[in-house]
């Protein structure tokens, strides 16, 4: 294990079979969706036009990809080089997250073949226009940031070096686009003050979406490292992951306090006190996603233990998903007058996409130099164009 050994082993058995079943179901549902329309596969209606494909696939997919820009910013802008070994895996997660979002959009959009219209027909007054451009541009930036890993694999080290030369520029662009994109998903809901429940509606929604995405994005980095440990038998880089827990606590605390202030300002405290449907959902979301992780990770003893760290990260991510589903579904139900429960097919599609993303992650880890040990192994194999691990400061 101590030897640089990049060979991850694939687990056949229950999970593989389950994934297979889901992918087959995905194929069937894809056919029905494109031949018979959205109504044939979803429980969406005129009263409830956005379901979990927006609430989970899009909002959570983008949010949980936030670890990528946070960690790249830490390494390349704040010069915290010690985090460099995890940059590649968070980049991969972010990249796959965005591809997952785009594929999900192709399912959810009524006329996905017109998706490129946002490029030529402009409406700068539309938040969705901003969202569309952020998706396009940030996916491009992610591709560029990720490209050296592919170039290395292809043996095109010259190109990889070229990209590196301009890396700071792309990292800054990536952080700007991510900030805009994360917050704009909150701005999307600013347009519905009369529809979104006051427990979630606030003029600060853009800031809330940004903060919670950074918090949960860091949690996702920890969680993903843990999953990699489980799946590929890697060791957990506790020395790198534990320091991530502290900004998580800070960000989630600020976010939590602001949320509570907003609820007092909106005068919706009574919903919590009276334990209404929305009040209960809010309490669950807030306890799981803010109170519990902050409480757990604030203690050094918990934070520095592997199970404590992973538990805190998992709760933050789970609470984040609850928040996005509450904004997009729970909070919109009362005004819509209907109770939306996603169809089995909607759920299967979402789950299959998550499975697909994980499968691609495993494949990428297998073939590309993602983890530091594989990077080192690759550098050894080609000593001449050894790929420097810490990149930003490297001279000639």
């Amino acid at each position: 294990m101590s030897q640089a050994q990049p060979a991850p082993r694939f687990r056949a058995g229950f999970w593989t079979v389950l994934c297979g079943v889901f992918f087959l179901a995905l194929l069937v549902i894809t056919f029905i969706r494109y031949s018979r329309g959205l109504g044939a596969v979803t429980h969406l209606s005129d009263k409830f036009p956005w379901g979990i494909w927006i609430g989970f696939d899009l909002l959570c997919g983008v949010g949980l990809a936030a670890g990528a820009f946070t960690v790249t910013a830490a390494v390349h802008i704040f010069n915290l080089k010690k985090f460099d070994p995890i940059v590649r895996s968070t980049l991969l997660t972010g990249y796959l997250g965005y591809i997952f979002v785009i594929v999900a959009l192709l399912f959810d959009l009524g006329k996905p073949w017109n998706i490129w219209h946002a490029i030529i027909f402009w409406n700068p007054h539309s938040v969705m226009f901003e969202v569309a451009w952020c998706v396009m541009l940030y996916t491009t930036v992610l591709t560029i940031e990720f490209s050296p890993i592919l170039f290395e694999w292809l043996g095109w080290n010259g190109l990889a070096h070229l990209v590196h030369r301009f890396l700071t520029l792309f990292v800054i662009l990536g952080v700007i686009l991510s900030t805009l994109h994360q917050s704009s998903l909150g701005t999307v809901y600013l347009i519905v003050p009369s529809k979104l429940h006051p427990l979630w509606y606030s003029t600060l929604l853009p800031l809330f979406f940004f903060l919670s995405a950074v918090g949960a994005g860091l949690g996702m980095v920890i969680l993903e490292s843990y999953l990699c440990k489980r799946a590929f038998g890697r060791h957990l880089e506790m020395d790198l992951l534990v320091p991530l827990a502290r900004p998580m606590v800070a960000i989630l605390s600020i976010y939590g306090i602001m949320r509570i202030q907003a609820i007092f300002r909106n005068g919706s405290v009574m919903d919590v006190v009276h334990f209404t449907y929305e009040g209960r959902m809010f309490l669950l979301e807030f306890t799981v996603g803010v109170l519990a992780p902050v409480f757990l990770l604030a203690f050094k003893k918990v934070r520095t233990s592997q199970s404590g760290l992973v538990a805190g990260a998992f709760l933050a991510v789970l609470g984040f998903v609850m928040n996005r589903l509450n904004v997009s579904v729970t909070g919109m139900e009362r005004a819509s007058g209907v109770h939306y429960v996603p169809s089995v097919m909607e759920i299967v599609v979402s789950v299959a996409f998550v499975g697909l993303a994980m499968a691609v992650f495993a494949l990428a880890v297998h073939y590309l130099a993602i983890f530091p040990e594989s990077v080192a192994a690759q550098a050894q194999a080609e000593p001449k164009h050894g790929w420097p691990l810490a990149v930003a400061e490297e001279g000639e």
Partner: protein, 244 residues
């Protein structure tokens, strides 16, 4: 010039002629449905003997127009809010955002479109009234210039004291609408939204969106500054021979 419709609930006899005429004029398939759908653009509902029409309100500052990422929805010069299915990518943000819940979707089609009242824009462009106004046997729906309609409504309110609510619905709601309504009972009772405020909802998003260009510049420069300082620290450390 902005045209609109004035609907007077106290005159309406709920005959449904407006909804039928709308179907014919706009080539909408199937019979008139209970509620508005992508194939039924207007309906008449009766709440305790009071009749009320449902249709696109043709806002003066339409939320749907502001949210459409590809500008498939537009406010025409005459006043109707119109839709271009060719441009639409089907994100359904208009349905989400509309404060009056007007846009509907063709959920049953592989190549779907949004459906909503377009104030018979072809007729209006030719200077003719909408099909619903023409079809109405009791002039409960009348077509005209918005400011004339407001005068007409005010006159009716003055001439028939006690008959009407002391407010024309649509005069300020969500920034004002092209379709105006008069009724004898509180509008909330008829299912109309009364919590919309006087400002168009798009004001909330524009407050944020209008700051994006400034934000990009400031944020980008700040990030570069941080990068410059932190890298400089390393350079100095290297120069002075203390590594790290």
């Amino acid at each position: 010039m902005t045209v609109g419709l004035l609907f007077d609930s106290t005159r309406c006899i709920a005959c449904g002629a407006c909804a039928e005429a709308c179907k014919v004029q706009n080539h909408l398939p199937g019979p008139v449905q209970e509620e508005c759908t992508a194939y039924t653009w207007t309906t008449v509902h009766t709440v305790e003997d009071h009749n009320i029409r449902k249709l696109c309100m043709h806002c003066l500052v339409p939320t749907c127009v502001s949210v459409c990422p590809v500008a498939a929805l537009t406010k025409s010069a005459e006043g109707p809010v119109v839709y271009d299915a060719e441009r639409c990518m089907g994100c359904r943000y208009c349905m989400m955002a509309c404060p009056f819940d007007v846009p509907k979707y063709q959920w049953d089609r592989a190549i779907p479109a949004v459906g909503k009242c377009i104030m018979c824009t072809d007729l209006v462009k030719k200077g003719q009234p909408t099909a619903c106004a023409t079809a109405c046997p009791v002039a409960a729906t009348v077509f005209g210039e918005r400011k004339d309609l407001i005068m007409d409504a005010t006159e009716r309110m003055r001439a028939n004291p006690g008959t009407y609510q002391d407010h024309i619905y649509g005069i300020k709601e969500a920034g004002g609408t092209g379709v105006l309504m008069l009724a004898g009972v509180p509008y909330g009772k008829l299912g109309l939204k009364t919590d919309l405020g006087d400002e168009p909802p798009s004001m909330h998003t524009w407050q944020v969106l209008s700051k994006v260009p400034d934000f990009v510049g400031v944020w980008g420069a700040s990030l570069y500054a941080v990068h410059w300082i932190t890298s400089r620290r390393d350079e100095v450390a290297k120069f002075e021979g203390r590594d790290e």
